[in-house]
C-alpha cells in the first residue's frame, strides 16, 4: 500500500494531534507562491492592484467560491468528492428566495426584514443539510461511489431548481438582504467575514474535535477505522451533511451578491472548487489536507484572476495559467500524495 512518504507527512505537532501549518514544507511553498504572485501583480499594476479598492473588490469576489471549496474539501477528506455543491447551493438559494419574496409584501407594509431574512437563511441551511444528508446516505449506506452519487444528485438538485423556477431568476428581496453579499463592516466586506468565520470553524472542527480527527483517519484507511470502532457510515453521512450545509451558505452569499436566485448561477465554480482544493494540498484520495492550504490556494487564484483582468489578458490565458500553476505546485511538492491511492482505504464506503 503506497501512501504519502513520511518525510512530507510527518507533522511535528501531530503529537498534539494535528495543527495548522506550522512546519509543513508544502504549505510553506504554497505561501511563497501566493506571495510571489501578489508581489508580481503589485509591481505590474502598482496604481491599480496594490490599492485598497482592489483588495476590497477581490475580497467581495472570492468568498462565494472559497466557501464552496470548503465544502469540496470536506468531501475530499473522506476520500470522496461532492459534485453537487453548486446545484445544492442554487437550490437552497432558490427556496430561500421564495421565502423572501413570499414575505416581501408585508415587509413593504413595514414588517421586520430581519425576521424574514433569518427565516430565509434557515430555510437555505435546512435544504443544504437535507441535500447533504441525501448524498451521505446514498454514498455510505447504498455504497454508490461519491463521484457518481453526487453527479446524480447534482443533476437532481439543479433539475428541481429549474422545475421550481421554470429556469427564471427569483427576484425582489428586501433591501437589507443584500448586506450579506454586498455590505461591509468597518470597511471589511461581509462575505469575507462570513468566509473567515467558516474557515476558522472548519479548521477547528477538523483539528480539535473527535469528528474531524476521525474524518482524517477514515479518509486514510476506512477498513482500519471500522476495525477501530469508528462508525464509518455515520461519519461519512455527517461529512456530506456538513459539505451540503457549507454549499447552502455559499448559495446564500451567492444569491445576496446577485440579489436574485437562479438555477444556473456559479456553474463554473464546480471545477474551480476542485482545482482550489487540490491546489491547496487536499489529498483527493482522502486523509490529508488543511484549511490553511485551501485559503492560500483561493488567494493565489484570486490574485492571478484580478491581476490578469487589469493586464487585460484574455480569460482563457487565465485558465491556462491556473492549470499550469497546479502542475507547478505539484511538481515542486514532489511526491506529495501516494503514487496510487491507498487500496485498503478504497475498499470501504466513503471512498471514490
Amino acid at each position: 500500500m503506497q501512501t504519502p512518504n513520511p518525510s512530507t507527512t510527518a507533522d511535528p505537532t501531530a503529537s498534539r494531534l494535528a495543527s495548522p501549518f506550522r512546519g509543513d514544507p508544502t504549505m510553506a511553498r504554497l505561501l511563497a507562491i501566493t506571495i510571489a504572485i501578489f508581489v508580481v501583480m503589485s509591481l505590474l499594476k502598482p496604481g491599480l492592484f496594490f490599492t485598497w479598492g482592489n483588495f476590497s473588490s477581490m475580497a467581495f469576489q472570492f468568498p462565494e467560491f472559497a466557501i464552496l471549496s470548503l465544502a469540496m474539501m470536506i468531501a475530499m477528506l473522506t476520500g470522496g468528492i461532492d459534485l453537487s455543491v453548486i446545484g445544492l447551493a442554487n437550490l437552497s438559494a432558490i427556496l430561500a428566495a421564495f421565502v423572501l419574496t413570499a414575505f416581501g409584501p408585508d415587509l413593504a407594509a413595514g414588517g421586520s426584514a430581519f425576521g424574514v431574512i433569518a427565516l430565509a437563511v434557515a430555510t437555505a441551511l435546512a435544504i443544504g443539510a437535507i441535500g447533504g444528508l441525501v448524498n451521505g446516505l446514498i454514498i455510505a449506506v447504498i455504497g454508490i461511489p461519491p463521484i457518481l452519487a453526487t453527479l446524480g444528485t447534482g443533476l437532481i438538485f439543479t433539475g428541481i431548481a429549474v422545475v421550481l423556477t421554470e429556469g427564471q431568476a427569483v427576484l425582489g428581496f428586501p433591501a437589507a438582504f443584500s448586506v450579506i453579499g454586498n455590505g461591509s463592516i468597518y470597511g471589511i466586506p461581509v462575505p469575507l467575514v462570513i468566509f473567515a468565520v467558516l474557515a476558522v470553524a472548519v479548521a477547528f472542527l477538523l483539528n480539535r474535535t473527535a469528528f474531524g480527527l476521525k474524518l482524517y483517519l477514515m479518509g486514510t484507511n476506512a477498513l482500519a477505522s471500522r476495525f477501530a470502532g469508528v462508525d464509518n457510515t455515520g461519519l461519512t453521512v455527517r461529512a456530506y451533511l456538513l459539505s451540503g450545509t457549507l454549499a447552502s451558505i455559499a448559495g446564500v452569499v451567492l444569491m445576496s451578491r446577485a440579489n436574485s436566485a437562479k438555477a444556473d448561477y456559479g456553474t463554473s465554480y464546480l471545477l474551480l472548487s476542485i482545482l482550489i482544493a487540490v491546489l491547496g494540498g487536499i489529498n483527493p484520495y482522502g486523509g490529508f489536507g488543511k484549511v490553511g492550504g485551501l485559503v492560500l490556494a483561493v488567494l493565489s487564484l484570486q490574485f492571478l484572476s484580478s491581476g490578469f483582468n487589469m493586464l487585460q489578458f484574455s480569460n482563457f490565458a487565465k485558465e491556462f495559467i491556473w492549470g499550469a500553476l497546479l502542475l507547478l505546485v505539484m511538481v515542486v511538492n514532489g511526491l506529495q500524495f501516494g503514487r496510487t491511492r491507498p487500496r485498503a482505504a478504497a475498499r470501504e464506503g466513503g471512498n471514490p
Binding site: G152, V163, G167, F316, F320, L327
Partner: protein
C-alpha cells in the same frame, strides 16, 4: 463467485432492457430502426472516449483531460489542414490529430510516469491548461466550413436505407472508429502481455514493478494511447458535426467516467471490461436520447437523468454491499 447474475454487466444489461421496455410501452415508435441508428450515431464519440477512460481506470489511474486533448487536437488539426491546403485529405486530419493527441497524452505521462504525480490532479491541471492554451494561442473562432475531406468522411456511410416515412437511416463510416477502438483495446487488454501488464499494474503497482514490469513505460503507453484515441475522436466529432468548435467536448469528461464506472470499472484501479464499458455508454446515451419520447418535459429532464444515474449505479453498488456484508 462471479456467477453471471452477481456480475455488474448483467445488472446493467437488465436495467437497459427494462428501460427499453418501459419506453416502448410509453411510445411504441421507440421500436424503430431509426432509434438504433440515432443512438449508434450519438454513441460514437462518447464511446471512444469511454474506452480510453476505461483503459486509464484499469491501469490504476484516472484521466479527466481527454476531452481537452480531443478538442485541442481536433481544432488544431482542422486549422492546419486548411492552412496547408490539404483539405481533401481526411487521412491527414486523422494523422495530425493523432499526433497532437499523442503529444498531449505524453505530457500527461511525463507528470504521471516520470514525476510520479497523482493522476487525478495532473489531468485536472492539464484539462484546464490544454483548454486555456487552445483558446488563447490556437484560436477560439469556430470553423464552420470544415475541409471537404472531413465533410465527405461524415457523409460516407457503411449502410444507408430509407424508412416508410421516406427519411434516410444510415450508419456512418465513422462508426468503424468506435469498432476499431473497441477491438484493438480489447485485444491489447486481453491478449497481449502489454495489456495484462497494464491490468496487473492497476491491481498493484508495487507488485508489477517487482515482477519486472516497467511501470513507467506502461504509463507512457496508456496515456499516449488515450491521447491518440482522443485525438481521433475529436476529428470524428468535428467531421460528423461539420464544424470545428474549440468549445466543444470539454465538460463531457465526468459523464464519460460515470458511464465507465456504471459499466463496472473501479475507480480504485485494476478492474474494468470492454463489455461493461459499452453497456454503461449504451445506458447513458439511451437515457439522454429517450426523454422526449417518454414525454418528459424539458424542465424535468435533469431530475430524471439524475435519478436514472442513481438507479443504474445504486443497484449494483447495493448488491455488492450485501455480498460483502454476507462474507465479512
Amino acid at each position: 463467485m462471479r456467477s453471471l447474475f452477481s456480475r455488474n454487466e448483467t445488472l446493467v444489461a437488465l436495467i437497459i432492457v427494462a428501460f427499453c421496455v418501459v419506453t416502448a410501452i410509453v411510445e411504441p415508435r421507440f421500436l424503430t430502426i431509426t432509434t438504433i441508428t440515432d443512438l449508434l450515431r450519438n454513441g460514437i464519440v462518447i464511446g471512444i472516449f469511454a474506452i480510453a477512460a476505461m483503459l486509464v481506470l484499469v491501469s490504476g489511474g484516472i484521466d479527466v483531460s481527454f476531452t481537452a486533448i480531443a478538442a485541442f487536437s481536433m481544432y488544431s488539426a482542422t486549422k492546419l489542414m486548411i492552412a496547408l491546403g490539404v483539405g481533401d485529405q481526411i487521412i491527414v486530419a486523422f494523422l495530425v490529430a493523432a499526433a497532437i493527441g499523442l503529444t498531449l497524452g505524453l505530457i500527461n505521462a511525463v507528470f504521471i510516469g516520470t514525476l510520479k504525480l497523482p493522476t487525478l490532479i495532473v489531468t485536472l491541471g492539464t484539462l484546464t491548461a490544454f483548454r486555456g492554451f487552445l483558446l488563447t494561442f490556437v484560436g477560439s473562432q469556430l470553423i464552420t466550413n470544415v475541409p471537404p475531406g472531413m465533410r465527405d468522411f461524415a457523409r460516407s456511410m457503411i449502410f444507408r436505407g430509407e424508412t416508410p416515412g421516406g427519411s434516410f437511416v444510415a450508419v456512418p463510416t465513422a462508426t468503424l472508429f468506435l469498432v476499431g477502438a473497441v477491438v484493438l483495446t480489447w485485444f491489447i487488454l486481453n491478449r497481449t502481455v502489454l495489456g495484462r501488464s497494464i491490468v496487473a499494474m492497476g491491481g498493484s503497482r508495487e507488485s508489477a514493478a517487482r515482477v519486472g514490469i516497467n511501470v513507467t513505460a506502461m504509463q507512457y503507453f496508456v496515456y499516449g494511447y488515450v491521447g491518440v484515441l482522443s485525438g481521433l475522436a475529436g476529428i470524428v466529432h468535428a467531421s460528423l458535426a461539420r464544424v470545428a468548435n474549440p468549445f466543444d467536448l470539454v465538460g463531457l469528461e465526468l459523464q464519460v467516467i460515470a458511464a465507465v464506472v456504471l459499466g463496472g470499472a473501479r475507480l480504485t484501479g485494476g478492474h474494468g471490461t470492454i463489455t461493461g464499458t459499452l453497456l454503461g455508454v449504451t445506458l447513458i446515451v439511451l437515457i439522454n436520447n429517450s426523454l422526449i419520447m417518454l414525454g418528459i418535459p424539458s424542465t424535468w429532464q435533469n431530475v430524471v437523468i439524475g435519478f436514472l444515474i442513481l438507479l443504474g449505479t445504486g443497484m449494483p453498488a447495493w448488491q455488492a454491499r450485501r455480498r460483502a456484508a454476507a462474507s465479512a
